[in-house]
Amino acid sequence: MNYRILVYTLGWILNFQALFLLLPCLVALVYQEPSGWNFLFTALVVSIIGIILTCKKPQNNQFHAREGFVLVAVSWILISLISAIPLCISGEVPNYIDALFEMVSGYTTTGASILTAVEELPKCMNFWRCFSNWIGGMGVIVFIVTILPMTGSNANMYLMRAESPGPSFGKLVPKLKKTASLLYIMYIVLTLTQLVLLLFGGLDFFESLCISTATAGTGGFGIRNDGFSGYSSYVQIVVTVFMFLFGVNFKFYFLIVMKKLKDAFLIEEVRWYAILYAVATILIAIDIFHLFGSVGESLKHSAFQVATVMTTTGFATTDFNQWPIFSQMIMLILMFVGACAGSTGGGMKISRFIIYIKSAQKEIACLLHPNSVKKIKMDDKVVDHETLRSANVYLIIYVLLVSASVLLVSLNGFDLITTVTSVIATFNNIGPGLGVVGPMGNYSSLSVLSKLVLIFDMLAGRLEIFPIVMLFFRDTWKR
């Protein structure tokens, strides 16, 4: 482990964090809110530390996969720790663990909240929460890679690979930096489009901005106490559409921009994502028809809730705790599946499920024809052994961690549904689960231990387990 380069790069991340912290100051300035000082103060302290750490470039710039993983994990933790400070010192969220939970939930785009009344928060704090969704959605490191001249080209590659969601990471164009900036350009364009459409819906600029950033990162922080039920149908539909769009693999948009429509629509994952979304929406719409009484209403609510769960956003227009058990179970299953790899969504990712299902098919075929040789293909390309192996191990660790977390959270003494779904909803970065932590509830009543466990789960879920788990191996830290 090359500690020097690790500290140096972390210093740069602190510098960027200080810049990010200036944004809510700006909001506070516009709305004349005194709590902006908390952000400014934190930004100052962070930038001083950052500048000290970055003033000397280390001689040894060896940077390998190990440093990449550790740097990503540590910087996510560090960023969350720092971001929670203004919330805590302003007194809005007096308990630091609560503030940390809120910010981790923001950066990991979970959207699970410990706040009972978000409307009372100052605007700059609400903006900070939604912005954390936005920057966490595409990835902090990706952002930094686009701007920072890093030590070597390899270093960036390891970082991107460690941070980007999905079983394997592919570039869009040969240069990593260009790939990262292309991703961010598409991200910004989509976010702005949503912002404009929301402005047409009659929302004010601040609210539109918060909603679009929270949707873009598939984060799910709302700024109203009643979630999305109070908004007009137009706003709800716009948000539904954009949640769906942000759950699509960004490669799809890249191919469309490159005018390779045929290739775009041939991406297996995107097709399955759309099919799964449509089927789930229709099934639930039928199942909840009696609750709303009209096809339009039930379709609208079903489409919104399925999108929110599948893309792991976590908004809600209605309390699906009240829905029939069949619909609830569909939602629960979708929580695991999640969105496409290479999108801003969380969960296990459609592409992993495609791999699992194809592997299962292959195994069964091998039982029937013991000598058969079959390669698993996706998008007409052979999925290599490494990807398969890592996807399988991912599943194993996933199950182990979820089980252990459920066990720890069960110490709270809540009912089965609450206990299990709180873990599932945080691990898959969705936000609301069922029961006490349902769409109209929140996570404030959990014990500190449970909150810490869930914080871990959120980070592990967002960074796809390996970087976070790696921190717990002594080998990782050896010099």
């Binding site: 080209s153 390899n154 960036n156 590659m157 570039k171 164009v173 040969p174 240069k175 990593l176 930096k177 260009k178 390309k381 290599d384 490494e386």
Partner: protein, 451 residues
């Protein structure tokens, strides 16, 4: 530029490394996923798995937007076919590696008919370099410019030389021969020396000069030159063959030791003037029997780097021969530098040099063209030859008035048939070939030497 490299073996990955360092967008194609993974994880390039001769694969690699395709797979035929298809599928220039001696004799026809911009033959290029080294045995490295009229020669300052403790400002007065010391390598440091630089025994210097004054210069500085007559070549692969051909044409006595019997028969057919020995070059008895001790030069060019190194070390111990070692795969230059293995020649680096030179001149469409490019001292210094066009900025003032970047030296101007060693009063004119030595790597045009 968008560049596609087909095949990521030794040359392919070297190219990927060096071209990404020069900020090009590289896509590599290979049908071996392990090799591809390796390159993709090491360098900032995109990988496409598949057969490079396939239209679909080339399209996936973005042939329609590529400026250049470089085919360096293991097979000449695949390289040529890849280039042919690329030419039809996209609108790019193509470079193919063609190694087989048979194709290479017909290379002009092949290049024209397939529309290749360039065909490179690493082994032939390396053999040429070795033959240049043999002509000047006391040189450690010989690079030629201006169609062979100017040489950049690397040598070590021997004991009790006139050059020891000499300040460069006094150089021309004391030595009195029309030469210029461009680069000095001392331990781990490289200098582009100015007038106040003082030379020491053991420094490795790079000197530009014309062939005609070479012997005078060597005598003056105390390097003894003896002509090479007897050459022993270990390894009769393609490189051994090319060397054999070039050296026998230069009337040297060539002995080639080759392991495989059929190859020996082939070689003796191809090279009637050379003596072909069937046997293992690492067989001590055999090489001693074949007079290793009295041979003038030993060239170790077997396929196995380790064998070459051992052989070179041994030859250095038992004889006074000039030793040249081929290193293909290993990348431990810093260790090898301190071992008595003589000059080392790395075909893949030579190929990369050729191709990068081409890429740079493609990139620079105005003012001047990179005619020649050599990289020395672990790629830390570049020596370039530019052809100057009328609209180049450097033609506008005398050299004394031009503001030239630090660590950059104009060594030589070749005008018509004259070689000019430039002073501050000289002026560069359109049509000149200018040779520049610099540590500012990545120059694309002559105007980039200006700060």
């Amino acid at each position: 530029m968008n560049i596609i490299i087909a095949g990521c073996g030794g040359v392919g990955s070297t190219l990927a490394e060096q071209l990404t360092a020069e900020n090009h967008e590289i896509t590599v194609i290979d049908n071996n996923s392990k090799n591809l993974q390796n390159v993709v994880s090491q360098f900032d390039v995109m990988g496409v798995l598949g057969n490079s001769t396939s239209y679909v694969v080339q399209m996936e690699a973005g042939i329609d937007k590529a400026d250049l395709l470089i085919a360096v797979t293991d097979h000449d035929e695949i390289n040529m076919l890849t280039c042919l298809i690329a030419k039809k599928a996209g609108n790019c220039q193509t470079i193919a590696r063609v190694r087989s001696p048979q194709y290479f004799t017909e290379i002009d026809f092949i290049r024209d008919e397939l529309g290749l911009s360039m065909a490179v033959n690493p082994e032939f290029a390396a053999a040429q370099e070795i033959s240049r080294l043999l002509q000047i045995p006391s040189a450690l490295e010989v690079d030629t410019f201006a169609k062979g009229r100017v040489n950049l020669i690397k040598m070590e300052i021997p004991q009790n030389s006139e050059l020891d403790q000499l300040m460069l400002a006094d150089f021309s007065q004391k030595i009195g021969i029309d030469t210029l010391i461009c680069i000095v390598e001392r331990d781990k440091d490289v200098f582009i020396p100015g007038g106040d630089f003082v030379l020491h025994t053991g420094d490795k210097i790079y000197v530009t000069m014309q062939m005609s004054v070479l012997n005078d210069f060597l005598n003056k500085i105390g390097l003894k030159e003896k002509q090479i007559k007897k050459v022993m070549i270990a390894g009769g692969g393609n490189m051994g063959y090319y060397l054999g051909r070039i050296l026998t044409e230069a009337h040297m006595q060539v002995k080639i030791i080759e392991k495989k019997e059929e190859r020996c028969a082939e070689l003796s057919e191809l090279l009637p003037k050379a003596m072909i020995i069937h046997g293992n070059a690492t067989d001590r008895q055999l090489i001693l029997e074949e007079d290793l001790e009295t041979t003038d030069a030993l060239i170790a060019v077997t396929d196995i780097d380790e064998e070459n190194i051992l052989l070179a070390l041994y030859a250095n111990k038992v004889s006074n021969a000039k030793v040249i070692t081929r290193i293909n795969r290993l990348s431990f230059e810093d260790v090898l530098d301190n071992m008595p293995v003589g000059s080392t020649v790395t075909p893949k680096d030579i190929t990369a040099e050729y191709i990068i030179r081409y890429v740079r001149s493609m990139q620079n469409s105005y003012g001047s063209n990179v005619e020649t490019l050599y990289r020395m001292v672990d790629n830390r210094v570049e020596a370039l030859e530019f052809h100057v066009d009328a609209d180049a900025k450097v033609t506008k003032a005398t050299l004394g008035e031009l503001k030239i970047k630090k660590n950059t030296l104009i060594c030589c101007i070749s005008r018509d048939k004259h070689i000019i060693r430039p002073t501050g009063r000289d002026i560069i004119m359109a049509g000149d070939s200018v040779i520049v030595v610099t540590t500012n790597r990545g120059l694309n045009g002559i105007d980039e030497i200006l700060s």
